[in-house]
Amino acid sequence: MAAVTLLEARGLTHRFGGLTAVRGVDFDLTQGECHALIGPNGAGKTTLVSLLSGRLPVQTGAIRFAGQDITRLPAHQRVRRGIAYTFQITSVYAGLSVAENAGLAIQSRGGAEAEVPAALARVGLEGMAEARAGTLSYGHQRLLELAMGLALHPRLLILDEPTQGLSAGEIGRFKDLVAGLTPEITVLLIEHNMEVVMDLARRITVLNFGEVLATGTPKAIRANRAVQSAYLGG
C-alpha cells in the first residue's frame, strides 16, 4: 500500500521579535505512522508544533492536512478537523471531575455522555471518574489528558513531551498505550527520552537552530553524523 501523506508543511518560518525560532521548515507526516520530533533545547520543536496545532498563527509558509489547506484555520477548527494536542505541562480542568473532563472532550465532537466510561477505561482511569481532576497524581493527570485527546477521535495526535515527570513504571505503561494507537491514529511525538523515541517512532525528524537537520528511520538517525555532532555540541 502506498504511503498517504496526512500532513504537509512547507516553508514554515516563525520569528519572535528578532529571534527566528523556526526557519524554512518542510515537514511531512504519513498516515498511520508514529513520528518523533527531537532536537536540543531551543531548537524550535515547541514553536513548530504550535504552528501545526494553530496555537501560533502562521507567519510564512503553508500547512495542508488531509488534502486541505489549514494554514489560516484557528486552533479550535483544526481540532475539529482532527488534530488533537496534549499540553507539555498537563492542562486539565482541575476544578471539574475526571468524568466531566472526558465528557467535555466527547461533547466537542458531538458525542454522547454514555461514551465517558469507555474513554476513561481506555487509559485505565475508570475507577476515578468522580474524583476532582486537580487531586489526581501527576501521572494520572497525564493519562487523563491522553484520554481527552483520544476522546476527540483525532486523526493526528500531537504529544508534547508526554513522559516528562513520569516514573519509570508509568513511562512503560505510557509507551504500551501509545504503541497501540497506530495505525488508526497518526502520532507526532515530541520527546527528550531517547529510549521512548527509539521504541515508538517509525520515523524521526531532528530540529536544530530552527531548521530540519535530518529525517529518517531511528537507525538512520542514530548513524547520522550531523545529528551526533549537534547533540554532542560539535
Partner: protein, 309 residues
C-alpha cells in the same frame, strides 16, 4: 431533582409572600426580584464564564431607555418590553464583540469605559432622555394588556413572573451542555480551545445572554416602577450586580437573588440608623473579597451541598 425542587420552592415562597407580606415589604420584594434578574444575568457572564465586567449598567440602561422612550413614543407595554430586552442583548453583542478581544483587567476597564460612554451619551441627549432628572412613564404605557402595572399586586406578580422565567431558564442553561462549556472556558481557556471549542464565541454568547437578562430587568423596571433616569446608567449600577453575585455566590443559580435580598434589607435596616448607603456597599465588597470570595451559596456548596447548581 433536589435542585429543581429548591428553586420551585423559592418561587412558591415568593408567590405566598404576595398574599402574606405587609405592603412595605411587598413593594420592596418586587424591586428586589427585578434587580435579582439583573444579577442572575450578570452571574451568567461573571460566575459561570469568568468574564468580570464593570459595565453592565450599559445593558440595564439599554433596556430601561429602549422601553421608556418607546413607551413615550406611544408604544404599548408589551412591544416596548420586548424591545427593551432585545436592546440589552444587542448592545451586549456589539460591545462584547469588541471588548472580548481583551481579557482580565483590560476587559474590566474596557467594559467600564463603554458603560461610561453610554452614560455620557444619555446626558448628551438630555433633550430626549431628560438626563439625570429622568422622566415618568404614562399610566397608559404601564398597561400590559388588561393588567394595570401601577397597582401593587399585578406589579408584584409581574415581577415574580419575570424572575421565575429568568431563574428557571438559567437553571436549565447551567445544567445544559452549553452551560458546561461556559464553565470549562472559565476554568481553563487554553484547554477548551485545544478541545475544539470556539472560546471567543462561547464568551460572546454568554455575554449576550447576560445582556438580554440585564435588558429585561431594565425594561421591566421602566414599566413596573414607571421611572427612567440617567442614574441607572451610572457606575453604581454596574457595581450592584457584581455585589449581589459576590455576596450570594458567584457561579450559583440562586446566589444573585440571595445577594440582592440581603443587600436591600441590610441597607434598609441601617438607613434607619444613619444614611450610610455608600459605606454598606463598600464594606460589603471589602469583607466579601477578603473573607468570603465564594459568597454564601458558594461556601455552602464547598462545605457539602454539592448538588447546589
Amino acid at each position: 431533582m433536589k435542585a429543581l425542587l429548591l428553586h420551585l420552592g423559592v418561587l412558591a415562597g415568593l408567590l405566598a409572600l404576595n398574599f402574606l407580606a405587609p405592603a412595605y415589604h411587598h413593594a420592596m420584594l418586587a424591586r428586589i426580584m427585578v434587580l435579582a434578574v439583573f444579577g442572575l444575568g450578570y452571574n451568567i457572564a461573571f460566575g459561570y464564564t469568568g468574564l468580570l465586567s464593570l459595565g453592565h449598567a450599559l445593558y440595564f440602561a439599554a433596556g430601561l431607555y429602549a422601553t421608556g422612550l418607546l413607551s413615550q413614543a406611544g408604544w404599548s407595554a408589551g412591544p416596548a418590553l420586548l424591545a427593551g430586552v432585545l436592546a440589552g442583548g444587542a448592545i451586549a453583542l456589539v460591545s462584547g464583540a469588541l471588548a472580548l478581544r481583551t481579557a482580565g483587567v483590560s476587559l474590566m476597564i474596557v467594559t467600564l469605559m463603554f458603560a461610561q460612554a453610554g452614560y455620557q451619551t444619555i446626558l448628551y441627549y438630555t433633550p430626549l432622555t431628560r438626563g439625570e432628572e429622568g422622566f415618568n412613564l404614562t399610566n397608559a404605557g404601564r398597561m400590559l394588556g388588561p393588567v394595570n402595572l401601577t397597582e401593587e399586586t399585578p406589579r408584584y406578580l409581574a415581577a415574580l413572573a419575570l424572575f421565575a422565567v429568568a431563574l428557571l431558564l438559567k437553571l436549565a442553561l447551567v445544567r445544559s451542555r452549553r452551560g458546561r462549556v461556559m464553565v470549562a472556558v472559565r476554568e481553563n481557556e487554553e484547554r477548551s480551545r485545544m478541545l475544539g471549542y470556539d472560546v471567543f464565541r462561547v464568551k460572546l454568547v454568554a455575554l449576550t445572554l447576560s445582556g438580554l437578562y440585564a435588558g429585561a430587568a431594565g425594561a421591566a423596571w421602566a414599566v413596573l416602577f414607571g421611572y427612567v433616569g440617567a442614574g441607572f446608567a451610572g457606575i453604581q449600577y454596574s457595581i450592584l450586580p457584581l455585589l449581589y453575585t459576590l455576596l450570594g455566590g458567584a457561579g450559583t443559580v440562586l446566589g444573585p437573588f440571595l445577594g440582592a435580598l440581603l443587600m436591600f434589607y441590610l441597607i434598609d435596616l441601617t438607613s434607619d440608623v444613619s444614611q450610610s448607603y455608600l459605606f454598606m456597599v463598600g464594606a460589603s465588597l471589602l469583607i466579601l473579597v477578603v473573607f468570603a470570595p465564594k459568597g454564601i451559596l458558594g461556601s455552602l456548596r464547598a462545605r457539602g451541598l454539592k448538588w447546589l447548581p
